[in-house]
Symmetry: C2
Subunit: 207 residues, 2 copies
Amino acid sequence: MPKVNSDSEEKIKAAAKKIFLQKGFDGATFKNISEEAKVNTALLNYYFGTKEKLFLEVFDESFFLFIRLIYQIMEQDIPLEVKIYSMVDKYTDLILENPMMPIFITSEIQRNPEKLIKHFGIFKQPTDTFLARQLASEAAKGTIREIDALQFEMALLGLILFPFMGRPIMNLRGVDTDLAFKAFVLERKKIIPEMMMAYLKTGTKQQ
Amino acid sequence: MPKVNSDSEEKIKAAAKKIFLQKGFDGATFKNISEEAKVNTALLNYYFGTKEKLFLEVFDESFFLFIRLIYQIMEQDIPLEVKIYSMVDKYTDLILENPMMPIFITSEIQRNPEKLIKHFGIFKQPTDTFLARQLASEAAKGTIREIDALQFEMALLGLILFPFMGRPIMNLRGVDTDLAFKAFVLERKKIIPEMMMAYLKTGTKQQ
DNA sequence: GTCTATAGAGCGATAGAC
DNA sequence: GTCTATCGCTCTATAGAC
């Protein structure tokens, strides 16, 4: 590693990520970012050309990761209960490292759906997923009740993600430190799978 | 009603609400709003002074309503199961009329917490709520399992709200019309209470 | 009450010195 | 590779005619 400390390009990317996450694409300015990175404003254009290119480059990896990890786990050929625990565990940990991402992703997509869906290559998923077949198969065996796969996914994701999106509400309800919030979220690693399983087992003999 | 059609102030408010919801405070411009309202840009300043005042005035009623309705229902002295059904039913209907509000509120608060919390008077709630006492009392009687009140609230809200926040994801999963989305959400009026009750009844004799 | 015209500031982006 | 200086544009907001 010859260049020791002042790798400007990396400093800009780190600063841009922080500022974009906080203020969104529209709210962030080159001035904000260059001050955060402690470099000259003109350097942003030198390295990345335009604001949009900087934005896309910074979130190119991480943005897609958050959406793809869902399907990577959902589509694994593992028992349903294991899958639910794995999903809650892995996704909670991922978001804990990037707690502002859920709101950021949803709001940026809502404000510019074409751009993001096109660039990040999020594609139309088939309705006939492995998870859908798994849920149908288990229901046919009578080990769980019937449930639509998308309903299942949205329930699971909502349970995992919502505390991060409603963090300001939680602040007003006494969960007002990062430590308390983390404890709250980690407790959900137990609650969420139990909730999903309790629902799925309703009306079956294993109930 | 003397002034028939051209009530500019109301046209501006309606246009501002639409544009702000779509683009956020930072992304929205007076040009966007005035074109949407089909009035001159200078009229926005004439009626509302500044962009921030326009924003606050437009969302003064509805913004707070969305947060307060939660507690209005949660704090009612009605049986727990009735409360859950009521919460899911009323909140789903409210959001269906304003499907962009959940993302809008969360992202605007994340980007400007002091301003919004101060202006809309969202205050620090006590941890000793009616709901908390109700949950503790039922658990003591053995009719439900023990659960922290905030965990209960976040689970319920996540289940209700997440489909609206993840609407773009749902579009890619085949739920790509307003009609299909509405049907999907209405189905949750049944699923969500059953899920909550299934969890609460786990380990009790009524299970 | 609504318009045109424009002020004044901040924005993203570029040119050119070093 | 990094800086200063500045361009051209768009933004919010105001002044003043009607």
